[in-house]
């Protein structure tokens, strides 16, 4: 939606210094910092309450460089080590300055969250998992210990989950929203931003919004911060920009993730970038022992090291195996997954298993023969799975868990959004900032640019960290 010229606004129903669109992880943190920076801050939340997609998540936050939890659990981390890894995890197109700020500021960000009342327990979860199911505060949440990452950056766990059993996103957001309220910022719920307002000089000076069945104009004297999420809920935008995500059957987002924040920014001249990229998740582990199984395609061939983070493995399932993948385990390895995986076949021999799955005769048998021969020596010359997950598959019966796009759950979220400077300023296609306009969280293209390199917690860490940066910056703007 193209921005409205301010000359068309006859009456400002409200004004604030900083107006923030969206009260998820990014918006809440932007609000806290803007208010603390002395700005009259107003947050517009289209839902009945704040929380956004962060509230629906595991709450894992990617933090490091030597946090209290890391040190208490005996892990030595540094800004340099974290930077080495985040460069790999960010994926293509992420600028060095953004990564530098993120890694250098990570311990401070951890402490800032703690000071808000977000608790983290000093305990490490060693199991390979999407997130600790208990209250443990630390786990290895990405590809740190995995080929080819482990050879390029020293592996250190950086997934920090707030102290809450199971999924901790709602707990995290409760603390953040309480802090917004304590900061003096106001949250206006059931209020949907519909259009930005720009003055003659191109500066964003306000927002049109829908509230109580009426359109209102809200002036923003210092700036507008777009924190309205990604676009996984908008099938038209997915078809246009990230059609492969339409192959996924579970949308990891809240209803507000319809791309409206991205379109608002584009309508004011902002450039949307990285729009083709997304994170795809088929959680074939935990149980962590499933990484000792093998993933095969419709020809019975492996295509990835199975100890990869599920985002990386799921990207390969979709793009290398064309969405036709099965996890092969023996009787000792079989376990229940969180989102249940259908048993596609169970047989006493691999020959019967490949026949049951309709694979070409002899191919799965050969794949297993090769895998077992090397695994017996704790080697995987083909895909370089780490030794701890290498063991021959030899205890019948053998099972194939359905990991196809038609038979299992593929979750997805988008990683494209407005182009921003590391300060949160929204940029146009020429790299010039749009005065008065900021963005953070999945409304922007942030630290996490590629699903195949992603680590759990990167998106929430990015949203909360750069939400703060954008809120501070907007509060200083005139």
């Amino acid at each position: 939606m193209r921005a409205l010229p301010s000359s068309a606004v006859t009456h400002w129903h409200r004004t604030a210094d900083v107006v923030i669109v969206g009260c998820g992880g990014a918006g809440a943190c932007a609000a806290i910092e803007a208010a603390r920076g002395g700005a009259r801050t107003l947050v517009l939340e289209r839902a009945g309450g704040g929380g956004g997609t962060t509230a629906l998540s595991t709450g894992v936050c990617y933090l490091g460089g030597g946090t209290r939890v890391q040190r208490a659990c005996g892990f030595d981390d540094s800004v340099a080590d974290m930077t080495d890894y985040v460069r790999l995890a960010a994926g293509h197109g992420c600028d060095d300055e953004r990564i530098r700020l993120f890694c250098e500021g990570s311990v401070e960000h951890f402490e800032w969250l703690c000071a808000l009342g977000v608790e983290f327990k000093d305990a490490y979860e060693p199991e390979k998992t999407t997130h600790p199911f208990g209250e443990e505060g630390l786990h290895m949440s990405g590809n740190e210990a995995v080929h080819p990452f482990a050879e390029r950056a020293r592996p250190v766990p950086r997934g920090h989950k707030p102290r809450h059993p199971g999924e901790a996103g709602a707990y995290l957001m409760r603390q953040l929203i309480a802090a917004v309220e304590a900061s003096g910022a106001e949250i206006l719920c059931d209020c949907r931003a519909t259009r930005l307002v720009r003055d003659d000089g191109g500066r964003v000076v306000g927002v049109l919004a829908r509230l109580d069945g009426a359109d209102i104009a809200i002036g923003a004297e210092r700036g507008v911060v777009l924190c309205a999420g990604g676009f996984i809920m908008n099938d038209d935008l997915l078809a246009k920009h990230a059609p492969q995500l339409l192959r996924c059957n579970y949308k990891a987002g809240c209803p507000g993730d319809d791309g409206s924040g991205i379109l608002l920014g584009a309508g004011a001249g902002g450039e949307a970038i990285n729009m083709a990229e997304g994170l795809v998740l088929n959680a074939y582990y935990p149980p962590g022992k499933h990484a000792k199984g093998i993933l095969v395609d419709a020809n019975g061939h492996r295509f990835i090291n199975e100890d990869a983070y599920i985002g990386r493995a799921s990207d390969a399932m979709l793009n290398k195996a064309d969405g036709r993948a099965w996890l092969i385990v023996d009787n000792e390895l079989w376990g229940k997954t969180q989102v249940p995986h259908r048993l596609a076949a169970v047989e006493e021999t691999f020959s019967e298993l490949e026949a049951s799955l309709g694979m070409p005769a002899g191919e799965l048998v050969h794949t297993i023969e090769t895998y077992n021969r090397h695994a017996a020596r704790a080697e995987d010359p083909l895909f370089h799975k780490s030794a701890e997950y290498l063991r021959p598959l030899q205890t019948p019966p053998y099972a194939a868990l359905d990991c196809t796009t038609t038979g299992s759950i593929y979750g997805a979220l988008t990683l494209g959004g407005l182009s921003t400077a590391p300060t949160g300023e929204v940029l146009d296609a020429g790299g010039t900032s749009i005065p008065g306009l900021y963005a953070a969280g999945r409304n922007a293209a942030g630290i996490c640019r590629e699903g195949r390199t992603y680590a759990s917690g990167l998106s929430i860490a990015d949203a909360t960290f750069f939400g703060r940066v954008a809120g501070r910056r907007a509060a200083l703007s005139r």
Copy 2:
């Protein structure tokens, strides 16, 4: 570069009804139609002469539905058959209306080209090739006869090469430029457009350009048509939008393909879409018999039906084989490729070959054993190569042609550009057209959206066809 407000233009050095930026295939056709439509037409070409990337190409144009050449060569085609195939070849995100216009208008477009003096010889080249090396006017230029396309659309050849031995792009452009001159349109060479000019209502009303060391303002009373090519020559834009293309070591374009036309349009509010997509070409055939060899990755495993169009196979080499691919042939199949491929290894047995290539022991041997066993029955249950390319590899010595990104030539061009209506009108992110602004050719996201589904000739056919549409439309605009 953001568009300049017309209020800032104090003097229009020139005016025309329609100003066209770029004189390649799209620009030339836009100019002919605009001039014929009664518009005073001015073409700005930044190089010393017109031609653009079309002049550097093979000149193959994807045409069908029953052209004179198709009929003379005994091929029965229809608009419906062509539409079925073009839907597959266009790839994700291409709108049905654009495909409908393109297919319904294809015979007329062929005749229009002929009437301009572009000759096509009524002769068919049956060899699997990137383009006929002789003067033959017709060949199967994409994945028509190949899995999985052949099962979904009736295979018909539609690659039309102008009558000229070898590469015919320069010949094609000579005819088009002669027609531009005959049409009354003026071509201004060595003139680089630097900025669009917009009036208060947002209508594009002119262009700033650099000519003879000075900046001039050129008024466009009916419209500006951007035909300035893609962005394969701009590494910064590639890093931002299509980083995988930076893995390719040959840029299939002319120096003007630096994305400046896309940025001009974006600066006037146009949305750039499909920016992550490109066509990748590693020409392991011709000779067509190379499709009887097998492509393997670093593990000695196949990953694609080798009779696929090279754009599809090369995409798989890059993305499924991670840029580490080899073509394995036996002594009878070996032949010289146009752009020579290094022999990575030549051995008497496959066991020695896999050792020479550093592949895990037994894997290539197994791959060949499986392939040969099925090929002897003219079957390929793994990748569905068509029967005519299936024959066991059994005449030593055996050779591996280096198709790695580090050892062979990967050509690339971009398939992203401005979002347009099928009329050529440039659209913003909300789908609203920018008055007075049109785009065609690789400056726009056209018919061809994906390299993995592409067919030779799609880009030139799209550029010339929709260049005409945009030129006609601009001439009618007020």
